[in-house]
């Protein structure tokens, strides 16, 4: 089973499956259970430790961020860093939103159509096309970035959101296609497609009447996946846009870079920037895992 095949078994389902129970008396005693919880709690603290400092720092006045006080709660709580970060990041956030939403939708629609054909309306050479698309998922974007910039200049696409939108849609197609291909291969039985074909339904009819109605969870996965990866992208943003028309990752890098860094505002900025993806993740976490597994190989 490969990563692509792993996607065929919806991950969220696998995770929700009941853990195996042993009918034979379990070897694990009370003690080892306590130890297990203790270890888990330690790991929990390790993972949450950065979260703690980010939150407390973001509410501190600049006087409060001295070395000795770094891990203590703010002596006076202030919203000033949040205000400052928000004022700086706001235009970037708007641009990121106007980029990530359509970018996710368009790539998902294309991926759905492609996935349907590759899974259920195959033609000779379909595997070759599949490999062709799949490899597109792995390439280091550095290898296309220079000519990509030149291409956009030649095509005269406005720098900023439009350029990034085109790039994210195109380079998002492979992963969306893969997710939908695996999804349709498991969710839609071939017999239904065959009988629709026998009844004379064409590709478009079959897609609209049979495939699209059962595609919702597939779309949830690709939409989450695309939204998060577009929102979190930095490389394309850096290569293809300027700070004045870039997305929020560029804004955050600007806010937190330079000689004199306002740590409280940087931390508030990091939190503000992370809210949309965290929100998506908390709200739709179960599918997020599924999407991560399906999209296993995009980085």
């Amino acid at each position: 089973m490969s990563a692509t095949a792993a996607a065929e078994q919806p991950a969220s389902k696998a995770l929700r499956a009941k853990p195996p129970r042993s009918s034979i008396a379990d070897g694990s005693t009370r003690l080892s259970r306590t130890v297990r919880y203790l270890i888990l709690l330690l790991f929990l603290l390790f993972v949450l430790m950065p979260v703690y400092v980010v939150i407390i720092t973001s509410f501190k006045t600049s006087a409060d961020t001295s070395a000795a006080e770094q891990w203590s709660l703010p002596s006076t709580w202030t919203l000033e860093p949040w205000q400052k970060a928000w004022d700086i990041l706001q235009p970037y956030l708007v641009r990121s939103l106007s980029l990530a939403v359509p970018g996710a939708i368009i790539a998902s629609l294309l991926g759905s159509a492609n996935g349907f054909v590759l899974a259920r309306w195959r033609f000779p050479g379909a595997n070759l096309v599949f490999a062709f698309i799949l490899f597109g998922m792995f390439i280091p974007y550095q290898a296309v970035m220079l000519p990509l910039r030149t291409t956009f200049q030649t095509l005269n696409i406005t720098q900023g959101v439009p350029t990034l939108l085109v790039a994210h849609v195109i380079y998002g197609i492979p992963i969306c296609t893969l997710i939908f291909r695996n999804y349709y291969a498991t969710v839609v039985p071939n017999e239904i497609i065959e009988s629709a074909r026998v009844d004379g339904a064409g590709l478009v009819q079959t897609y609209l009447r049979i495939i699209l109605p059962v595609s919702i969870s597939g779309f949830v996965v690709t939409l989450i996946w695309q939204f998060t990866s577009i929102w979190n992208d930095f490389l394309f943003a850096l290569f293809l846009t300027q700070q004045s028309n870039g997305p929020v990752t560029l804004g955050l890098a600007a806010l937190s870079g330079g000689q004199k860094v306002d740590y409280a505002a940087s931390m508030a900025g990091a939190l503000i920037t992370s809210f949309p993806t965290l929100f998506v993740y908390i709200l739709l976490g179960r599918w997020f895992i599924g999407g991560l597994m399906a999209g296993a190989l995009k980085g």
Binding site: A6, L40, V117, V144, F234, T249, L297, G299
Partner: protein
Amino acid sequence: MHGRIRTWGPGALVLLPTVLLLGYFVYGLIGWSVNTSLTGRHTARRGPAEYVGFDNYVNLFGEDRFLNSLKNLGVLTVVFILGTLVFGLIWALLLEKGVTGEGIFRSVFLFPMAISMIASGVVWGWLLNPSQGDEARGLNRLFGIANLDFLQNAWWTGGSRWTTMASIALPAIWQLSGYIMALFLAGFRGIPGELREAARVDGASEFKLYRHVLFPQLSPIALSALIILGHMSLKLFDLIYAITGPNQFRTEVPSVYMWNTLLRSDMAKAAAISIVLLVVVAILVVPYVAYTVKQESEE
């Protein structure tokens, strides 16, 4: 023949835009980069440039700075892959039999994955502050508070290549261990319960059960995880950019070196670096893609 085209034609037509887009934006642009890397175009100016063959590559591999970036990348990749696999596997093992509050542990372990590398880099850059003693900040300060002063160190700013790159790998491990946990957890849950039963009935100890029954079932997932982590690590850019800034010899890897070369408008050299990166990724990924596609077509 006509009938065949009628059945296959529409499917091929749906894939045509994708094939054309990827044909240009992936394969075409890679070709373009290869082409640039063979020229003597060392300025941003366009127009015809003379071909210098593989000179740029020869120069790169004779250059200390590039070799340094490759060595850094090697160390980073080893530490990152090992760390993430170990953490991910431990978490999955701790959770796989089911514990109270499993959902909470799972969500917390997984949440760093939803955050952009820039945001987490901003936070970790702060945590990995090199000051020690009374001036200690970040993690060093935490070690001081916990009376673990001997753990204080200069992180990425001092010490050997291994300490430097391990400091960079640490945040990446923090971000991605949860993902590997999810992969393994789904893998464990996918193993039929009868298999465990049978092994237990046969008198296998817990250890032997894992060693001989469960782990072998997970090896395909481990392979996927290896490919995912490997190719992410090879392309890692944002995190280094956010933690150390782009222009740090100590932490430079090829993707960062390419950016620095580009800032000096050395097009041919930047292209050559990006192609070396592509080749390294391809060595890892092409056999995997070929294997995946072959396996799928056999099904």
